[in-house]
Symmetry: C2
Subunit: 320 residues, 2 copies
């Protein structure tokens, strides 16, 4: 089978962009990769650690001749990133992105790139780290990548884009952008909002010191701090761009929380017990579906600290 693309340009070289570039180099035979980031320091670092074959000095230079462009900038910067590359795109190019909300991105890129084949994507992968040094080639391995093609998307180009993500180790699903935004509002955006909130609440307390909060965080709080350490710019843009769906899920969450609050106030142990029993079953389903792991380290040692792995027939060396 021919590789799906021959020349890829990545715009934005943070955790996601850097990882996509590294993974493409490792997994797509013969692909040429170029990269650009608006931050000169990031470009310099990307050159040092070899994220792509060529780190360009402008976005236009990066996309010249590319048959695939992957925009890896915060959702709020998509319009500007699209405008910056518009005049330099080759005929027949496929433009995609890795943004966490999709309807707003689809609108922004349709505006910036009229007549261009734009097929938004969302690889559901990441860590709480950010920046080029956080990138690693296996970030997408075994992760879902949701592709949200517009109704009139070119079928052959869509198929090549899916092949590309699969070559990088991801499993693809397609759905429309609006549905994506509601699914991710509950599975990702609301959990982040709540984690940010509780970590903020804890740091504002007077009766409990910061050092006590940190010392005893193993009781549950610690997991929230990990989520609440994610990139602030990215998440600001997610909430602003997926506002409606996030507010809808937040409304439901608040109603449910109020009900539990009432049960606590009234001392209604049965209501609490029933809720807590029901939620346990969700966890079991997640483990059965292989989306997490019951082992003490949650199988997270699968990436990063392992030896060389093979994706799509190509060995990927471990991170240095």
């Amino acid at each position: 089978m021919n590789p799906p693309f021959c020349r890829m340009a990545v715009i934005g070289l943070g955790l996601l962009g850097g990882s996509v570039a590294l993974a493409a180099r490792a997994c797509v035979p013969g692909i040429m990769t170029s990269g650009f980031d608006s931050d000169p320091a990031v470009r310099a670092r990307a050159r040092e650690i070899g994220l792509a074959d060529h780190i360009a000095e402008t976005a236009l230079e990066a996309v010249a001749g590319a048959d695939l462009v992957v925009l890896c900038v915060p959702v709020g910067a998509m319009l500007a990133a699209g405008q910056a590359i518009a005049s330099g795109l080759a005929a027949g190019v496929v433009v995609t992105d890795v943004g966490s909300s999709k309807a707003a991105v689809a609108r922004a890129l349709a505006e910036a790139l009229p007549g261009v084949c734009v097929i938004p994507s969302h690889p559901v992968a990441g860590t709480e780290q950010s920046g080029p040094d956080a990138a690693f080639a296996t970030l997408l391995r075994g992760r879902w990548c949701i592709v949200t093609p517009p109704a009139d998307a070119d079928a052959e180009k869509l198929a090549r884009l899916i092949s590309f993500w699969e070559a990088l180790g991801a499993r693809c699903e397609t759905m429309d952008a609006e549905h994506h935004d509601r699914v991710l509002a509950i599975t990702s955006h609301l959990p982040h909002l709540i984690a940010y909130t509780i970590v903020g609440t804890a740091s504002d307390l007077e009766a409990v010191t910061q050092s006590e909060v940190i010392k005893y965080s193993a009781g549950g709080f610690r997991d929230f701090t990990r989520i609440a350490a994610s990139d602030p710019t990215m998440w600001r843009d997610v909430f602003l761009s997926n506002r409606e769906a996030v507010l809808e899920m937040l409304q439901r969450f608040t109603e449910d929380l109020t009900e539990l609050q009432k049960a606590i106030r009234k001392g209604d142990g049965d209501a609490l017990f029933d809720t807590f029993t029901r939620t346990r079953a969700v966890r079991r389903s997640i483990i059965e579906m292989g989306q997490d792991d019951a082992r003490p380290d949650f199988g997270r040692s699968d990436h990063g600290d392992a030896g060389a792995i093979t994706i799509a027939g190509t060995a990927i060396p471990p991170r240095p």
Copy 2:
């Protein structure tokens, strides 16, 4: 140095009780251990896997001759557990517990055991598993154990109790029960309440299927499901027994969440960005204080899958 205690009885042989028994056998030279659980199936299983030297058929039989009794039952069962052992306690015994709220436990045990030396404890350790099979000898290793001695506690007995927890690998702090309850309300109880809530909210949605929620849970939701898989009986009792502090923290959380909700609705990106930046710093402090780990598996592979480890000079074999 002499071992702090010679005969220990553990009442309640779930994750915590089983782990305390295993750890004592491994770490306290010469200690004799007996155990009891009100569930006959748990007693049978505890015998099979050898959680203690002797599994008794009654609580009274278990505590006979013990100089340390550790109550490892849900907080709501403490009063009954105390009453069940009252007539069989040896002179000079120290009674402690492992409950997650402390003021209510102190009251219950003072009522059940007048004149007995009761010094409540809370080892801040656990997993989302429960039952005797979830127990392991290193659960307390490197964890904080908060001891909440009453004002008139015998200093020598308190010192021996602290030595005991330290022998099991824990680091001890003492504070009063009310302060403990507020600290844990924010670091543990509220995070659990919120995790239970959002997992419940997600399973009630009509527009998003359960299988979508589970599939895309890696976006953040997954971490909440792990917390929300914790033992329902234990957590019902925690919320009922630490009602005031939990409701206070919940009130503050709700106010903060309302503020972020308003920022999203108004499109106030600066307010969101500021909050998200502030919370990142808390995460950094937690990693610097060694309460978590920046590695991809969060250092969780430290327990369970390692080889033999040594605590307090005694080698503990790995779990089978």
